[in-house]
Amino acid sequence: MKAEEKPANLSKKRRKKVRNPHHFSPKTNIIMTVLLGLSAFLCIFPFLYVIIISVSSEESLIRYGYKLIPEEWSLDAYSYLWNMRGQLFQSFGISLLVTILGTVISVLMITMYAYAISRPQFRYRGFFTFFAFFTMLFNAGLVPLYIVMNQFLDLRNTIWALILPLAMNAFYIIIMRTFFVRSIPEAILESARIDGASEWRIFFKISVPLAVPGIATIALFSTLGYWNDWFHALLFIDDPNLVPLQALLMRIENNLEFIRQNTELGGAVQEIYATVPQDAAKMAMVVIATLPIALTYPFFQKYFISGLTIGGVKE
């Protein structure tokens, strides 16, 4: 909305009368709309499928496999989830808390870092770029990471164990740096400096607002990253009260894999199997773990789909 109002006053009238020249011609537009619509459908389709499976009866799933139209409908999966709502709500809360807190922290750290290494005035920018970049290539060993988190910082079984490991990301830093380089003309900053603004003030008042699409992108990635992360919970969390939603799901998958690989356990396997949610319930969990985060997307989207954010602040 806002972005639409921003274009320079001159073009405003013209845009009312004729079609927006930044878009396709009507004919291409129709073709593209259909084409993109199809691909979008292909992307959503499996998710719809997941929903369908979650409302199929377990018996029919085992007997007939996954069907687009189930042999037998059932809401058992959701009543199963309702029975474990305590854990689900708890996990949902943890996921939410970690995602929000984590995104704020990581966006802040990443933006500052990327901004500094994007400035030509920064004498050591080359070093710090490589310093960040190098971490992308070399995996930190899992065991040493565990020791740092567990024995140095003692963060095991705290939400910081879920937040900290994802707080920085060299990949995002480099993307962000590109955004800063491309979207902030040095001339603007120069004039601000002449006005006597400090670098921090320039950073927060001028550079950050100019780089909003980039920041929104990083924030989105970060949000998705935190929400989807199960690995660090697997490493650092034993307390059931701190297990995020995706880790809950992943544990079920891991347990199934365990059963598959340990059939020789005999009786015990059937015992474990009884405790693992069955397919329909699993899919129902996928639904509740996916929908909320997918629906946050439009919130970020408004910062970069309609464009023209930069036109508004041109001198």
């Binding site: 619509g37 998710f47 870092y113 004498r123 990471l145 830093i173 979207s183």
Partner: protein, 309 residues
């Protein structure tokens, strides 16, 4: 020396900005990185803890790397990893950029948003879940595809035993899962392009295609180059879930599904040898590092502005 401190002082604002990140990198990336030394040792456990364990473990040189090279599988996994990744990088780049441009051009903004949200969905489904879904299509006797083939009077295909289809299946699954997500970066970059450029182009009578070619693509170029360089650094790492879960670990498909990561997993699952796991990771990193430096060097020669550092 004095000059060094003066320089530090002059750069204090910037140094302060990178400080939190730097601390993080030291603590959670560089210190743990030192653990890679066990790739050259046969790790045994010492009661005094990790450091003592490392010190007391025997040096074995490159022994831990050997398993990656000692059989004809070495060729298969290296070939598969590199070829798949190359295809993924090129196809992914082209489709993500195309998608971003198309979406940004759609007249109906609301629809564009809906589409885009939809295209993000695959990103949320784990490969395990995707593998169930693929199985429901490809299962031999219950699968949708075989049902269709049979109803057309053809005989069913045992998908999980026929390697020839899998390069296409894996490539399309990868594209399906990643393109919606990676187009976001380009969408954001397009949003940052100053519209004056387009208006100038239009005044010059440029067609839509020409505008894309002369305004949008050049503006996206730096990002495209950088992301590609970064991807090349990961060319020796394969997406484990895609190559393990989606083909359901079916042995008869290994000639086209076995990649470095799955090979390492299957080889070390039983022994749980962390020295060898680390060695494999280090090998992947080293190749990645060399390739990145090389690509970056070439890019630098062509256009200094596009290089990573």
């Amino acid at each position: 020396m004095k000059k060094f401190f003066r320089n530090l002082w002059e750069n204090r604002t910037w140094l302060l900005m990178v400080l939190p990140g730097t601390l993080w990198f030291i603590l959670l990336a560089y210190i743990p990185m030192a653990g890679n030394v066990i790739a050259f040792k046969e790790y045994t456990i010492h009661p005094e803890g990790f450091i003592a364990s490392i010190i007391h473990s025997d040096w074995v040189g490159f022994d831990n790397f050997k398993f990656l090279f000692s059989t004809s599988d070495a060729w298969v996994i290296t070939r598969n990893t590199i070829l798949y990744n190359l295809v993924f990088i090129l196809l992914g780049l082209a489709l993500a950029v195309a998608l971003a441009i198309l979406l940004s051009q759609l007249a109906n903004k609301r629809l564009a948003k809906v589409y885009q949200t939809g295209m993000l969905f695959p990103h949320f489904l784990s490969w395990v879940v995707v593998s169930y879904f693929v199985f429901s299509f490809l299962s031999m006797d219950k699968g949708l595809f075989n049902n269709i083939l049979e109803s057309l009077g053809m005989s069913g295909i045992s998908w999980y035993h026929e390697p020839e289809y899998w390069p296409y299946i894996l490539t399309s699954m990868n594209v399906w899962k990643t393109v919606g997500f990676s187009s976001i970066i380009y969408l954001a970059a397009i949003a940052g392009i100053n519209r004056d450029y387009y208006e100038a182009a239009m005044i010059d009578g440029a067609s839509k295609w020409q505008q894309i070619k002369h305004v949008t693509l050049p503006a996206l170029m730096p990002l495209m180059v950088i992301l590609t360089i970064l991807d090349i650094g990961k060319i020796f790492r394969a997406d484990f879930g895609l190559f393990y879960q989606v083909p359901r670990d079916s042995g008869t498909l290994y000639s086209v599904t076995n990649v470095i990561d799955t090979y390492v997993y299957r080889g070390l699952m039983q022994m749980g040898d962390i020295s060898m796991t680390t060695a494999a990771g280090l090998y992947q990193s080293m190749v990645g590092l060399i390739l990145v430096l090389l690509t970056n060097y070439i890019v630098k020669r062509i256009d200094k502005d596009y290089a990573l550092f």
